[in-house]
Every structure is written in structure tokens, then in C-alpha cells.
Amino acid sequence: MHDLKPLTALGGSEPRIERFAHVTIAENDGLALASVAARMGFEAECHGTLKALLGAVPGPGQAILHDPEAGFWMGPDQWMIGAPKDTHELLADNLKVRFADTASITEQSGAWVCFDLIGPGMADVCERLCGVPIRKMVAGDAQRTVIHQLGCFVIRRADADHLRILGPRASAGTLHHALVTAARSTA
């Protein structure tokens, strides 16, 4: 085993958490991610494997909040699969085996920063950040959109109080700053 110590996207050894009265913004460093894109002519097989993996195939704008692997739709015939990093560090390799020639798999663990917004103020914060119709979204809705010029995924994990935002990892600091200032502004 190697001895390289990973950093979180915000550059710490531990994830950052900011608490406000109405919302908590927590960096989530525990996700392994890989994209799955169906090979042409193997869409049905790819869907079958996805269904076996997640319980269902996420449609456009949808996430399947399944355990341990969860997934959401990224684009036509393309999905993102996420799983706990502790147990699924080699998620992409495992998916390659599982999907074989029916899909192209790309490791995405390093590409994203993940923030969980938890609390009743989640929607207020979201309204200051991006144009998704947050108050109409329900658990399992996943939209790609722009936050502070950054392409992000906004995933409603719970109807009441949990929103997950995936953003480009290199801009983790910018995204975090945007979330925190929006939280302060709506506090």
C-alpha cells in the first residue's frame, strides 16, 4: 500500500464544516466517483447493469439515492456513479469490470468537490446561488447548472433539508466562498 496522504478539495486534511443557524455547509470528502457512458449499440446492456447496480436507471434530471452506490444522470447515455471512498476507492476499476464492453468508464473522484447543505435555510441559500427551481425540486432531482460561473450539479437529497452540490474541484475555494457568503446573506 502506498503512503501518499490525500488532501480534501479545500486543501485540508479534514473536511471543512461551517455552521449557521439556518444551514450547515459541510465539505464531503468521502465520495468516490466515476462516470459511465453507454457504448453505442450496447445501451440496453448498459441500462441493465445500471439497474442492477442502482435499482433503477436515473433518467434526465434524476438521481437514484441508492446505497452504497448512488448515481445521477449527466447527459444522454451518461451517468455519474458515486460511492463511499472508504470502501470504493477503486470504483472506476470495479465498474469497468462490471460494465465490460457495454460502457466507457472514467474515474472522476479527483474532479469534483462536494458540499452538503443541510438545514431549513437550504432553499434560501440556493436561491442566491443558481437558477434551479429549488422549491419545486424533490428528493432525487439532480440538475447541472451554473454557480458563480462554475458548472455544478445540484442534487436534492432530501425534500426537507438536504442539498448536495458538486462543483469543479480546482475551484473548491471559490465555490465554498460563494456558499458561505450566500449563507451569511440569508442568515
Binding site: 501518499l4 490525500p6 478539495a9 462516470s35 473522484s109 442566491r128 458563480h148 460563494a178
Partner: protein, 979 residues
């Protein structure tokens, strides 16, 4: 100073809260619920500003956002806010305001001389003079004009407040919370639809707050307050006061500005001053009310002369009268209401002057049939001259004069998508036309329905129609339902200096002159006279001008038409449109995986697009950046260096047709590239010009990793998706960007292999891993990684990549492993020096106008296959023999500079554009060669090696004798790469 014009009772002010404020250095008191204007009037202050051109003394004309006169500089220091309407500025304790556009004091403005000269300063006079001598325009005339013009001043200090943006979605947006808007909101809200109700005022209710009408058993204001309270209790309704909807944009998107903190001294910690909301709505009910218009007559602009409806607002809402003796001049019944209301509050009504012969009489005050023909009072109205119906004249003593010329529905938003209003004879006004923005309907006064009961009905009906409700009866309160009775009357016959546009000082005379000089379209009139170009955008002035134009042209007003209504509805702080995107937050920052480590090393960072990259790593004792860069270059070429190259774009290309796909996007061939090998690729645009270059590494039969330049990562990815989806939709290819997924470092220099051998878990020998090899590997005993043997520096070099989270650790590991070789981290400067030394093209060469031929890569463009750009690259203009070719440039005198951007000229002959031979694209000092070097493009350059030329930069006053050389300054045979 006492509030001598404040009624002892009434109004919707909070008398228990007294605010102290300062205007032009004098201290006054007002109450919570006041505006600055109402508080000043309460204190007997009528003079609040000066006009734009003639510097005429001015007071308030209105009680709302359409105010053209009472503009002040609100707040001071870095929060100074010019041109703030005193009529909308909410009073807070400690408010500080100054009058503006004056030289000297407000009472004695030296520029009031302009008023004396007004006969010379007519419309467009400046187009006819100030031309001699020619040089005097910038030196004399213009500076004088500019200093006299303008209104308030900007502090020129950075705005200390923050602004937010936000996004809202609703089924129904209701603009305006007067009787129509509230009625609509109640119906929509009770039906359960998602509704946003926005009003620009801080107190919702619109005219209900300004009138004495009853709604059922309540006063209008109480009914409005109750309605707002009910709406606020509904979870599906968002009530937004202090929120101006500024524009109707395409497809149901509205811009709105919420003034969160303008009514307090300073915004609370973390809170914005204003929020720009982008509202997405299915349907919109515009209930924005109407604006009363004045009447033009001689000297109709003195402080104390204001709209009659504004007088009612001050009296009924703010419990203020502008003066104790008030006259009214009207052409319709509404004007009489003002007299009645003020009389009821004990104000002396000097008279009501009505232009109509058959006018309603009053027992309480005198009603005259006639016209106001002139006024007196230098800094405030003292007398009004009236010509009676029988031709006699009479002088009325009064300190305030209310004007009522009829009402203009606020049709602006209905025209934001180029709709045109239509004329309504009954109202003598424009009303919304048929081409409304999609999803919009209009209700109440905005729609020309001026009675309270009518507004309630129409608001309700609009709500019913947008929601498609069963039209069951609703219990609307009883309210006044008076029909409009008006005689169109725009200006008093024979007047000249009668103001139409009070702020811009456009008079009846100017409109006539404009017509006389042939400026007869409505747009010509506007532009020639500046009518309607003031900060109120003609809300109180345009109709009068149009009416006079129509009369002069012998046309009807609708034939003359209106100018175009443009957003924003009211002027809006530029800061609000900027939101948080300023300072360091202007654009996002992208940090490389080694950023933290580089910071610890004291690196100097540079912006590369949104990336922050280490530019160089200064060491103790180095006093100039060149020392650091030279050291980094020399150390790398001598032993080994390491550089973070994560910023290069990386695209995963997979699928059974991946190789065919690369054959399309690169001009050179990729089909035969072996697995485990990397190849340089040149990408052309379809027009045959170089788009980008990079490498593609074949990790498996059906898997490539394509790199792009840092700058072009996004457009190249977009282009690849275009080729995949639109041009070759049946190719089995899948694309995804992995730029940020991998931390990638270049390890370069003769000792690079020795360093990496200590880290990489596989055979690194030249045989096992030769030049241009690539592989999925592991490092440090098991971490997955990618290794490429590619070189930008021209040295034996590798690029090694690991998942981003491990990037920091890998950099530290490389530094540790390289310590025995004195491994040197290098930044973008040294990277640039080494690539110039090696003759590699980069951004300065790939500038969007260079062809493969220019770059000396013409033969790379395969003619044996179809690739993007290959056909158009064959055009004659891109294949001239004497065209620019990339060359190397070195100074004849090793001490001489060779600046990038300098142009190449022959050794003798003139230095001018006709003799331009080319230019230097990139330049640096080469520490290996001991002199400056440059890359450049030179006409027929490939044939001119050895030629002496002049490299000239007249801009920076450099002229250097140079020699044209090969662009490959270092190791032209490439032996080092393959070592």
C-alpha cells in the same frame, strides 16, 4: 427647525419615531415612514435641486420614482450616491444628503447665469458653434460644458457595499401592489398558485396610501395593510416590498432589484445593499399604476409647483403640505380631489384653476375657469398669474401649485419587447397595446382603468384569467368608481419658456425650434432637444412634447408615436447588476493540486485564464524575477526540474471509434498509433487555421487521453462534442473532461528518470518506456497513476499524473526523491523559456490566425483522410510561398533585447508598414545561450535563415539588429528527448 408643514394628525408615518437628518448642512427632523422629500417639505423646505442646463431652482415635482427635480447626493464618503430621488429615499436616523449640480450654494448657484443666457442656449445650439479654432473644442469649450453638465458626483471611491443576485420561480408575478395588484394577489394567492408580489415602494398599497377613499368600511391604507398581512401569511406568496421590477426580458424572465439596506444607515454585517433577482414566471400581471402629468406654462418649474396627486400623497400619506397656501391647475376632475383633501386638512386653497368651462364648483374654495399663464418667486413659488375664461387676469398668492394634466398609464413594461402602446381618447393617454410580452396581462391604472373599484375588479379578473379559475364571484370591497373626465390640455397658448422636461430644461420653445429645423420624427425630437433623456426617461415630460409635435405637424398624437421604452423601469445601481462578481470574486479561481505546496515554497502566482499558476519560485538572495527564472531553467536542463502542468485540458476519449474520431479532429493521422504510445496532434478549425495543439495518448485500443492547451480546454471540448454529436453521430465515441481529475506534473531534465524510478512501480528504462510512451501505472507502492514520456522543455522528460487528492502528496514525494539531484521546481516563466528555446509554438503563436503552414507544419495536414479543416486549409491565401513562417530570432549583439511584439524590417530601407516583414511572437532571455531569443513569423521565413534584419519596436523605442535562425535553439536533433 420645526416641522411647520406637518399636520398634527393623520398619515402613515410613525410619529413615535423621530429621525434626525442633515440636508445641505442643516439639521432637520422627520419621522419613520417619511421620505427625504416629505420630511423636507414638512420642515418647510421647497428648494431641493437645480436643473441640468439652466440651473433653475427646483423642488419636488412628484412623490415617487418618476421625480425629475429633487435629486440629491445621499450619504457621504465612499457611500455617496448621486442623483438619488428625495421622493423615494426612505428617511432613517442620521440620513445625510446634499443638493447637487450647483456652483456655490443651492440658493446662490453661480451657474444660474445660464438661465439668463437661455436664449442663446436653445435646443441644439452646440451643433452650430464652438468649432473655431478647431483645437479649442477639447481645450476650452468641452471642459466648460462638461463641468457645467452632469448632475451629482460619484465619490470615485470603491463602493464598500456588497450586492447579491438571486433566482426566483413563480407561477404568477404581480408587479405593483396598489389596488389592482393586491386584488390580483389575493385571488392568485388564495387559489394556491406560487405568486410573487413586488412593489417599488417601502409601503405596499400604491395610491391607496395616498388617497382618502374608503374601501368598504376601511380606509384604503388599512385595507391595503390587511391585504398585505393576509398575503404574507400564505406560504405560496412572496411579498417583496422595496423591489422594483426593472424589465421584461424574453420568455418570462423579469429582472427585479430589491433594496435590502438602502433604508438603513449601513447594511448589517454580511448583508447586501441590494439584490438583483432574476424572476422566472409563467404569467405576469402588470399592475404598475399610472403617472400624473403636468401642464406646461411660463415658469411652470418653480419650487412649490408639483403634481396635484403628489400633493395628495404628501398630505394623506405623510401628513405634510408643501405650503399653507395652495392653488391647483387642472384639466380634469382628479385635480379637484387635491383641493378637497388639502382643504379638509386645513390648508388654504387659493383657488382651483380648471381649463374646462363646465367645471365642478365647491363651497369650500374658489374654482376658476382659466389657465395659469405665469408664476413668480425666485427660489420658490409666491404668486401664480391666471388668465380667466373671460380674458381677464388675476394673481393668486400661493406657495404651492398642484398640476393635474391627466394620467399616463405606466405602460413601460408592456413595451420592453418592442410592443407599442395604443392611444385612448377617453383618457387622452397611451394604454398598453396588443403586443404584450408573452404571458403578460395588465390590470388597473396601468391598463387605463383609473378608478379604485375598476382596479380591484380588473386585478381580480386578471388573476382569474391567468389561472383559468372558475369565475365565481368574489367579495370585492365597495370603492369609488368615478369615470375619468378630462379635457386634453398640454400647454398654455403663447408660452415659450414653459418646461416640458424639467430636468433637461426642454421647453415648449425648444420643441417648436426643433420642428422648424426639420427634426420632425419623434426620435429626432428626442435626440435634438434631449426631451425625455433625463433620469426619469420622460415619465413626466414626453407626452407634452409629443402633443406639441403632433400639433405642429398637423398629426394626431398616436400618429406621431412614442420613443421606445427601454429597461430599466427606473435607474438601477450598476453595483446590483454586478452582484458579487467584483474584486477577487470577479471570476472563479482555479487552483492546481500543488498550490498549497507552492505557496509554502513562496511561489509567485500568475493568472492564466482562471487558473492561478506558480510563475516562479524565488529563493533567498534573488532580487529579480530573472534570477529565479534563469536558475530554474539552468537547473532543469542540468539536472532535473518539476512543474505542475495540471492546467492542460484533458479529455477522455473512449469507444470503438475513438481512433477514427481523433482522425477527424486532428489534421494528422491517429488511426495507426500503437497502444502505449503518445503522438503530437495539431487541431485545425474548419477554416483551416490552427485551433489548438496537444498530445493524444493511446492507453487502450478504445481509449485515448487527449490534452489541450490550458486556454483552449473549454472550446476544444465543445468542438469535440460538436464533431461527435452533429457531424458523426453514429460513431461509438464517449467524451468526458478529466482536466481536474488528475494532478499532473512534468518532471524534466537529464535526471528525471532517476527521480521517477524512485517513485514509479515499474521499469523506467529507455527500452521499457521509450520517448512518447504512455501507460497506466502505479506509484509509491500501489497508487494508480498515469505516466507519459513527453517533453515540452526538450529534455528527457515525463509527465506523471495521480488522482487530484494525492497531487499534493505526490509533489512532496517527487521533491523528496529528487533532493539528491537538487530537483528544482519551476514555474510558468521557466516553462516558457524552455519551450521558446526548443521552438515549440504556444498561445502567442497559435493566435487564431496562423495556419499549419505558418507554423512550419504544413506537411502534417494529411491529404489521405477527412479531417476538420483540411479542405479550407488548401485555399490560396493560406498557401502563399512568401507567407509568414515560424523562425527563430537572435540578437547580433548578445546584450541587445529582442522584444515580443516588435516587427521585422530589412537592414535598410524605411521602417513603415509597407516594409513590414513579420514580427516576434514570443521572447525571453535564454540563460543557456546567454542572450535574448525570440520566436517569430517572417515572410518566407524558412528560406531566410542567417539573414540579418532589424527588429523594431517604435512603441517601446527598441531597435535591434538580429539574425534569423532556426526556431530550435536547443538540441535541434532531439537527442535529449530520446536519451
Amino acid at each position: 427647525m420645526t416641522q411647520r408643514n406637518r399636520f398634527s394628525t393623520g398619515g402613515q408615518i410613525d410619529r413615535s419615531t423621530t429621525h434626525q437628518f442633515v440636508f445641505d448642512g442643516k439639521r432637520y427632523h422627520g419621522h419613520a415612514g417619511d421620505t427625504l422629500a416629505s420630511a423636507l417639505l414638512a420642515n418647510g423646505v421647497r428648494l431641493m435641486g437645480r436643473s441640468f442646463k439652466y440651473h433653475r431652482p427646483r423642488g419636488v415635482l412628484t412623490a415617487g420614482s418618476e421625480e425629475p427635480n429633487a435629486l440629491v447626493e445621499l450619504r457621504d464618503g465612499d457611500r455617496q450616491e448621486p442623483n438619488t430621488r428625495a421622493t423615494t429615499a426612505e428617511l432613517y436616523d442620521g440620513l445625510f444628503a446634499k443638493s447637487q449640480n450647483r456652483l456655490g450654494s443651492l440658493r446662490f448657484d453661480l451657474l444660474a447665469i445660464n438661465d439668463r443666457l437661455s436664449n442663446f442656449l436653445t435646443a441644439g445650439f452646440y451643433y452650430k458653434t464652438f468649432m473655431w479654432p478647431a483645437a479649442f473644442w477639447e481645450k476650452l469649450y468641452e471642459p466648460v460644458i462638461r463641468h457645467a453638465a452632469g448632475l451629482g458626483s460619484l465619490s470615485l471611491q470603491d463602493d464598500p457595499d456588497v450586492y447579491d443576485k438571486g433566482f426566483l420561480h413563480c407561477d404568477v408575478l404581480i408587479i405593483g401592489a396598489g389596488p389592482a395588484g393586491l386584488s390580483a394577489a389575493l385571488t392568485v394567492g388564495r387559489a394556491g398558485a406560487d405568486v410573487i408580489l413586488a412593489d417599488e415602494d417601502f409601503r405596499m398599497g400604491g395610491r391607496l396610501n395616498s388617497e382618502t377613499f374608503a374601501l368598504g368600511d376601511d380606509s384604503g391604507a388599512d385595507w391595503a395593510a390587511a391585504a398585505v398581512a393576509e398575503l404574507e401569511s400564505l406560504p405560496n406568496v412572496r411579498v417583496m416590498a422595496r423591489t422594483t421590477v426593472i424589465g421584461a426580458f424574453d420568455h418570462g424572465i423579469y429582472g427585479a432589484v430589491e433594496r435590502v439596506s438602502d433604508h438603513v444607515h449601513t447594511p448589517a454585517e454580511g448583508k447586501p445593499r441590494q439584490i438583483l433577482w432574476r424572476i422566472y414566471t409563467q404569467r405576469t400581471i402588470l399592475a404598475g399604476g399610472a403617472t400624473e402629468r403636468p401642464i406646461a406654462f411660463e415658469n411652470n418649474d418653480r419650487p412649490g409647483i408639483m403634481l396635484a396627486s403628489a400633493m395628495r400623497s404628501y398630505a394623506n400619506r405623510f401628513a405634510v403640505t408643501p405650503d399653507q397656501r395652495v392653488a391647483i391647475f387642472t384639466n380634469n376632475d382628479d385635480g379637484h380631489r387635491t383641493a378637497a383633501d388639502l382643504h379638509a386638512k386645513g390648508v388654504k386653497i387659493a383657488a382651483v384653476v380648471d381649463v374646462r368651462p363646465d367645471i365642478p364648483r365647491s363651497h369650500d374654495y374658489e374654482v376658476l375657469h382659466g389657465e395659469v399663464i405665469d408664476t413668480k418667486g425666485r427660489l420658490g413659488l409666491t404668486f401664480a398669474e391666471v388668465r380667466l375664461g373671460d380674458g381677464s387676469t388675476r394673481t393668486l398668492e400661493c406657495g404651492a401649485l398642484g398640476l393635474s394634466g391627466g394620467w399616463n398609464p405606466n405602460v413601460h413594461m408592456t413595451c420592453h419587447q418592442r410592443g407599442r402602446p395604443t392611444w385612448n381618447d377617453t383618457l387622452a393617454a397611451f394604454v398598453p397595446g396588443p403586443d404584450l410580452p408573452a404571458g403578460m396581462c395588465v390590470a388597473g391604472a396601468a391598463n387605463g382603468t383609473l378608478s379604485t373599484a375598476g382596479a380591484l375588479r380588473e386585478g381580480h379578473a386578471a388573476a382569474v384569467s391567468v389561472l383559468d379559475l372558475d369565475t365565481s364571484d368574489v367579495d370585492l370591497p365597495q370603492a369609488e368608481d368615478t369615470p375619468v373626465a378630462i379635457k386634453p390640455f398640454w400647454y398654455v397658448e403663447g408660452c415659450a419658456r414653459a418646461w416640458l422636461d424639467q430636468q433637461n430644461d426642454v421647453t415648449v420653445k425648444d420643441v417648436k425650434l426643433s420642428h422648424q429645423e426639420g427634426f420632425r420624427s419623434v426620435e429626432h425630437l428626442k435626440r435634438y432637444t434631449t426631451l425625455g433623456m433625463a433620469t426619469d426617461q420622460g415619465k413626466t415630460s414626453n407626452m407634452g412634447g409629443l402633443a406639441i409635435m403632433a400639433e405642429l405637424a398637423g398629426k394626431s398624437i398616436p400618429e406621431v408615436g412614442t420613443t421606445i421604452f427601454r429597461p430599466p423601469y427606473t435607474p438601477t445601481a450598476i453595483g446590483a447588476f454586478g452582484g458579487r462578481h467584483r474584486g477577487q470574486d470577479f471570476h472563479p479561481k482555479r487552483l492546481t493540486p500543488s498550490h498549497q505546496w507552492a505557496t509554502e515554497q513562496g511561489a509567485v502566482f500568475v493568472e492564466v485564464g482562471n487558473w492561478m499558476r506558480a510563475q516562479w519560485f524565488p529563493r533567498d538572495g534573488e532580487t529579480t524575477w530573472r534570477q529565479s527564472v534563469d536558475r530554474e531553467v539552468l537547473a532543469t536542463r542540468k539536472s532535473v526540474g518539476v512543474c505542475d502542468v495540471t492546467t492542460l485540458g484533458k479529455v477522455d476519449v473512449q469507444g470503438t471509434d475513438a481512433a477514427d474520431f481523433l482522425n477527424k479532429i486532428y489534421c494528422n493521422g491517429f488511426a495507426k498509433l500503437a497502444v502505449g504510445k503518445t503522438r503530437y496532434g495539431l487541431m485545425l478549425r474548419e477554416d483551416g487555421i490552427a485551433m489548438d495543439d496537444g498530445t493524444a495518448a493511446r492507453l487502450a485500443e478504445d481509449h485515448f487521453v487527449v490534452t489541450t492547451t490550458t486556454a483552449n480546454a473549454l472550446p476544444v471540448y465543445r468542438h469535440m462534442e460538436f464533431v461527435r454529436q452533429c457531424l458523426f453521430p453514429d460513431m461509438d465515441v464517449q467524451l468526458i473532461s478529466t482536466t481536474e481529475a488528475w494532478a499532473q506534473y512534468a518532471v524534466a531534465g537529464p535526471n528525471s528518470r532517476s527521480v521517477l524510478e524512485k517513485i514509479v512501480d515499474q521499469d523506467m528504462s529507455n527500452d521499457a518506456f521509450p520517448f512518447m510512451a504512455c501507460a497506466n501505472i502505479t506509484v509509491c507502492g500501489g497508487l494508480r497513476a498515469r505516466l507519459f514520456r513527453i517533453s515540452f522543455s526538450g529534455e528527457l522528460a515525463y509527465e506523471i499524473a495521480v488522482p487530484t487528492a494525492y497531487g499534493d502528496a505526490l509533489m512532496r514525494k517527487i521533491m523528496e526523491a529528487g533532493a539528491e539531484f537538487e530537483i528544482t521546481p519551476y514555474g510558468t516563466e521557466a516553462l516558457g523559456v524552455m519551450r521558446i528555446e526548443k521552438g515549440h509554438a504556444a498561445g502567442n503563436e497559435l493566435n487564431g490566425t496562423t495556419s499549419a503552414q505558418n507554423l512550419g507544419m504544413g506537411r502534417m495536414v494529411s491529404k489521405k483522410k477527412d479531417s476538420i479543416g483540411s479542405i479550407l486549409s488548401e485555399r490560396e491565401g493560406l498557401n502563399r510561398d512568401d507567407d509568414l513562417r515560424q523562425v527563430g530570432i537572435k540578437p547580433v549583439d548578445p546584450e541587445a533585447p529582442v522584444p515580443a511584439g516588435a516587427h521585422l524590417m530589412a537592414m535598410d530601407g524605411p521602417i513603415d508598414a509597407a516594409h513590414d516583414q513579420g514580427y516576434a511572437t514570443s521572447a525571453c532571455f535564454s540563460p543557456n545561450l546567454g542572450h535574448a531569443i525570440a520566436l517569430g513569423f517572417l515572410k518566407n521565413g524558412s528560406e531566410r535563415t542567417g539573414e540579418r534584419m532589424r527588429l523594431v519596436s517604435p512603441l517601446t523605442q527598441v531597435e535591434t539588429e538580429v539574425e534569423i535562425v532556426s526556431a530550435h535553439f536547443i538540441d535541434p536533433e532531439g537527442d535529449r528527448l530520446r536519451a
